[in-house]
Symmetry: C2
Subunit: 285 residues, 2 copies
């Protein structure tokens, strides 16, 4: 018996989420920040790296001009630099960016590996003031096949709609990567952020892993939940970065376990769905 | 200004859940147990009472004969007795029973008030050995209009399917009553039962209240989560009966708050759904 040369060889997938604090409107600073985070993740032999929503632009735009000044296309040199950084690795990076879509902007996430930009997903459920800057995406969230498993992508508020993780599970996702910017809200003492509870339920309901990379820092007075968390296929937290000084979450997952949806000798999480009923109206009595 | 004569007059709805411990196969004992619980709830001026799944029969049947011996129809004297008990009140009771459906049995829940049995819902997602005894229901879960608001009904495992609370929310439910028998499973230290996390997420995703009445006691070696809990429209627990000696949860809710689905000046929980996308396949890349 030999020692595995890398995490992959042992069936383990190493996921790293980093809770970055970009500067709103400062593209040069933020792209450097993202590349540094990926370098750290590579040093940790990460297989999958998740960075926050709108990493390259920041979030609390003063106006549309500021958003537009930070907008980039998937052909931008940032993505070329990131691809070069990943050369010779099997590492996959999922991160949010402000996408220049020509006449309009999108709140997008890119899936990038050594071959380049594999997928761009445009957020389909826009939160609050995002509606002032962005056009909602017109396509369902993708599932990207990688050497580590099938990665689905959602962005922040998307995950509040149970339809979204469900669709990704039905499309075969093993893990959903969620770049996010969760604004801090009040919660009862001793409770974790509601967004994490929602993510736990989505993981459990679909028998898959979820890795959420939240924001650090404070931006124009906006505080964040700092709820970076990796959740297993039973809905339990495996790692959080909330209290960590480095704001990073590093954990090893057996992603192939998401392929087994059996819950009991008589139950299967996806086959037990009653699709014959879900289109019916509820009887009103 | 006068003191409200009842909870209803103040816009408050009092919900009582009781975590009963029926004896499997003992219909006479269990129906008496249920009527006693309703008497206690009435003494507490309950508007809505929720009792466990299969209250009248117990759960861990030895065989089909035992299940059949405890099966009753909505015309059973138990429901007549319950209706008489509710005479002159506006109280609504939701409880689970083993339904005699002629050639087959159903794991059902009845909604009963002073006018009689208002609705019977037959569980549509059967858990584990239930598949040996019961036929799954063929109709979507109902929403029953009451003086206290619109009550949706789900039973136990139904709630694990996010499609179900979503359908009830779209049908206008203010509260979902969930008779349940949650079998005890392992969970990480300090965590609440996963089923409650699922219920919290369902409440939050749909902006409605959820009242779950779980089982107490142990039945043929089967322990229960004892996770009776009432959850508000933000997904937070308002009351649990887990640690209470009496195994009851009593709480006052402003159910009309479920009618406001606005989350921000730009967001509405139900209108933000992208029904145009949910039928699309995920792009596979």
């Amino acid at each position: 018996m030999t020692t595995p040369a890398s995490a992959q060889d042992s069936g383990v997938t190493r996921v790293v989420c980093e809770q970055l604090a970009p500067r709103v409107g400062d593209l040069a600073h933020n792209t450097a920040l993202a590349l540094d985070a990926v370098r750290r993740a590579l040093a940790d032999r990460a297989d999958i790296v998740v960075l926050p929503e709108l990493t390259t632009s920041g979030y609390v735009f003063a106006d549309l001009d500021e958003a537009r000044r930070t907008a980039i296309t998937p052909d931008d040199t940032f993505f070329t630099d990131l691809t070069l950084l990943l050369a010779g690795t099997r590492t996959v990076v999922v991160l949010g960016f402000c996408e220049d879509g020509g006449p309009t902007l999108f709140n997008s996430a890119a899936v990038v590996d050594a071959d380049g930009v594999r997928a761009v997903y445009r957020k389909t459920h826009l939160w609050d003031r995002e509606t002032l800057f962005f056009t909602p995406g017109a396509r369902m969230a993708p599932v990207v096949t990688t050497p580590h498993g099938r990665i689905g992508v959602l962005i922040c508020y998307d995950l509040e709609f149970p339809e979204m993780p469900r669709r990704l599970a039905l499309a075969g996702a093993d893990l959903i990567a969620v770049p996010t910017n969760w604004p801090l809200e009040e919660q009862p003492a001793g409770e974790r952020p509601a967004e994490i509870i929602q993510a736990q339920a989505a993981a459990r309901a679909n028998g898959l892993y979820i890795a959420c990379a939240d924001r650090g820092g404070t931006e124009r007075g906006q505080a964040w939940t700092q709820g970076t968390a990796v959740i297993n296929q039973y809905g339990w937290l495996t790692t959080t970065a909330t209290a960590a000084a480095e704001h990073r979450a590093v954990c090893d997952l057996f992603l192939h376990l998401s392929r087994d949806k059996a819950l009991s000798p008589h139950n299967d999480l996806l086959h037990d769905r009653r699709t014959d009923l879900y289109a019916q109206e509820s009887p009103q009595l």
